[in-house]
């Protein structure tokens, strides 16, 4: 059974977003006469159910942000489908695309560069309403006030400029702006990574409350596994443009199957003898190789402690190891997953 067939079994009625074989390549000049490409996202498929949180983890350069931006149509899609609701939005352009954008919003990592320093906070929250023609003029002012209250800011905040807010408050403004057109899906691209831990907790609690109240769907990108574990319903681990493992959060932290996931968990495990053992056995060294014209074979082969010959020759497909649990590794059947005894 392929991953795709397995996914079909999943109840299709509540799927909000269905990404099929998404590819995003960027031209990277020419090498020995032939054009070369950065394989930022290389055949990624996943489904996100309405009202749930889909987490994407991976190192810098793994393609997690590009995947989310391609879903938002903020970067050109090379091939593949992005089915939102019942339409493939990867093919849309012009007015139909603008209409769809109303339902898709994003919160960026750095609230300092995501807000225009020369415009008042209220105007920036109002902008999506103006652009998409939502509500009458007087309605919009009222909605800005309501949105500010929802993210925990006083109504006077509307008249201030971004530099008059702290980092956490700016992120609240960004969330209010994303909420303004009442979207179905919000992409949180490392939305709390730039904030202090105490402020992170405030923002995460806020996002979770908004999700409960509005039945929002999130794509939550982070490299903080502890946050991913608590915040997400389903988790995909990306490495060099590929999803290497995908499973419900309950499953992936209990029985991970891919050597790269093991390494990530080893790096983030709580201190103690268990972590020392995990690090000794599973933590990989070095940095990911270049995503420009990757070699055939598994993307992780150069850093994988368990790599064998077949890994160099053939790219593994995503196989089903348990319900809704997909792993892209030639050796997933023979390699024993780590044990998490805290002895």
């Amino acid at each position: 059974m392929t991953a795709f067939e397995a996914a079909q079994i999943h109840d299709a009625s509540d799927v909000l977003l269905d990404v099929n074989d998404l590819v995003v390549h960027f031209p990277a000049g020419r090498r020995s006469g032939k054009p070369s490409f950065v394989h930022a996202v290389d055949g990624v498929s996943f489904r996100v159910r309405r009202g749930t949180t889909f987490g994407i983890v991976g190192e810098s350069g793994s393609g997690k942000s590009t995947t989310a931006q391609a879903v938002m149509r903020l970067v050109p899609v090379t091939s593949g489908q992005v089915v939102f609701g019942n339409r493939n939005i990867a093919e849309l352009s012009g007015e139909p695309l603008r209409a769809v954008r109303r339902h898709l919003q994003i919160v960026f990592q750095d609230p300092f560069s995501a807000l225009n320093p020369r415009r008042r906070a209220g105007d920036q929250i109002r902008e999506p309403l103006d652009l998409l023609g939502i509500g009458s003029r007087s309605d919009r002012d009222e909605r800005v006030r309501k949105l500010l209250a929802e993210v925990g800011l006083p109504p006077q905040a509307a008249d201030l400029f971004p530099h008059q807010f702290s980092g956490g408050q700016r992120q609240r403004l960004c969330i209010a702006r994303a909420l303004a057109p009442e979207p179905d899906l919000i992409v949180c691209d490392e939305a709390v990574s730039a904030l202090d831990v105490a402020i992170q907790a405030q923002i995460l609690n806020l996002l979770k409350r908004l999700q409960r109240e509005r039945n929002l769907t999130y794509i939550f990108i982070s490299h903080d596994l502890a946050v991913i574990q608590q915040f997400c319903d389903e988790v995909a681990v990306m490495y060099l443009g590929k999803i290497v493992e995908q499973a419900p959060a309950a499953e992936i932290f209990r029985a991970p199957h891919h050597p790269y996931t093991w390494s990530l968990l080893a790096a983030a495990a709580p201190p103690g003898s268990m972590r020392d053992e995990l690090k000794r056995r599973y933590l990989v060294k070095g940095d990911p190789p270049s995503p420009v014209d990757p070699l055939p074979g598994c993307r992780f082969v150069e850093r994988c402690p368990s790599a064998v010959e077949v890994c160099r020759q053939r790219l593994p497909t995503l196989d089903v190891v348990a319900p809704c649990h997909y792993v892209g590794c030639h050796r997933s059947a023979e390699l024993a997953p780590p044990t998490f005894d805290s002895r």
């Binding site: 903080d224 574990q229 968990l265």
Partner: protein, 331 residues
Amino acid sequence: MVALLEVDQLNVSMRSEAGRLVPVIENLSFAVAPAQTLALVGESGCGKSMTALALMGLLPEDFVITSGRILLEGRDILSLPARDMRALRGSAMSMIFQEPMTALNPLFTVGDQIGEVLRWHRGLGGAAAREQVLALLRAVQIPAPERRIDAYPHQLSGGMRQRVMIAMALAGKPKLLIADEPTTALDVTVQAQIFDLLAQLQRETGTAILLITHDLGAVGELANEILVLYAGRCIEAGASAGIVAQPRHPYTRGLLRCVAHLQLGQAPKSWTDLGEIPGMVPPLGARGAECAFLARCAKAADVCRSNPQPILEPIAAGHAVSCWCKAAVAA
């Protein structure tokens, strides 16, 4: 053990536009012994980085040290002339900055930049310097150092750049290494590698490390001692195991509670809100004499409102806290 670095009642202020002095760091005292690690913990705006810059003699223009002493190996470095201070910086003490991209010069190769330290402080040049740079790059576990020595910063990944920063900081064989959030800009796997590297280098060289971070959970095992700063005031200090296991100040407790903890080998519990500390650090100039944490403290009582900031008092062996309600909080 004799302290390598001793900071005694340090006060740093900022000169406001009106010429008034606004306190930034108040009555800060701590000591670091050789081969030990002290972590300075707190949110942005609590004065962690300013403490580091005061130690290095690199405070921005409007910031002045109003009183206190900084002793490095018994020598008061605040009274040193600029020339002598320059000789200390990079050799007796050096600093790893938070953002390796902006801290490295984009126009010079990493070999040049590390070599500069060797030229200045150890009088090495030419082939001898290059040999040393290669050894340093190897020490910080950069693969293929013969190739990377001639690379420019933009040709390296974030983790690699941070390793170059560490190599540069170690080049002068410092006795004190100040690491200002050395891993915030990096991925988790790389973070783990950098922390391991720092611990290993410390074992080999006996360098004392002053580690600055906002993540109390992450430093528990790395640091021997922890000092929690809030709004420029030390509110809790002591051995790291004691502080992580039994935090006494409401702020320290809040910092520990607001992080999610990874639980392996079991299904995660359904979402429960993280413990949040409402509000934010009072800005400069808005800090009164009373306990700085008062406005955000859930345990604030009348005694806190009617008295000035409590002094840092020992509550157990090697554990001091500045809180009027410390007896109640301890329960």
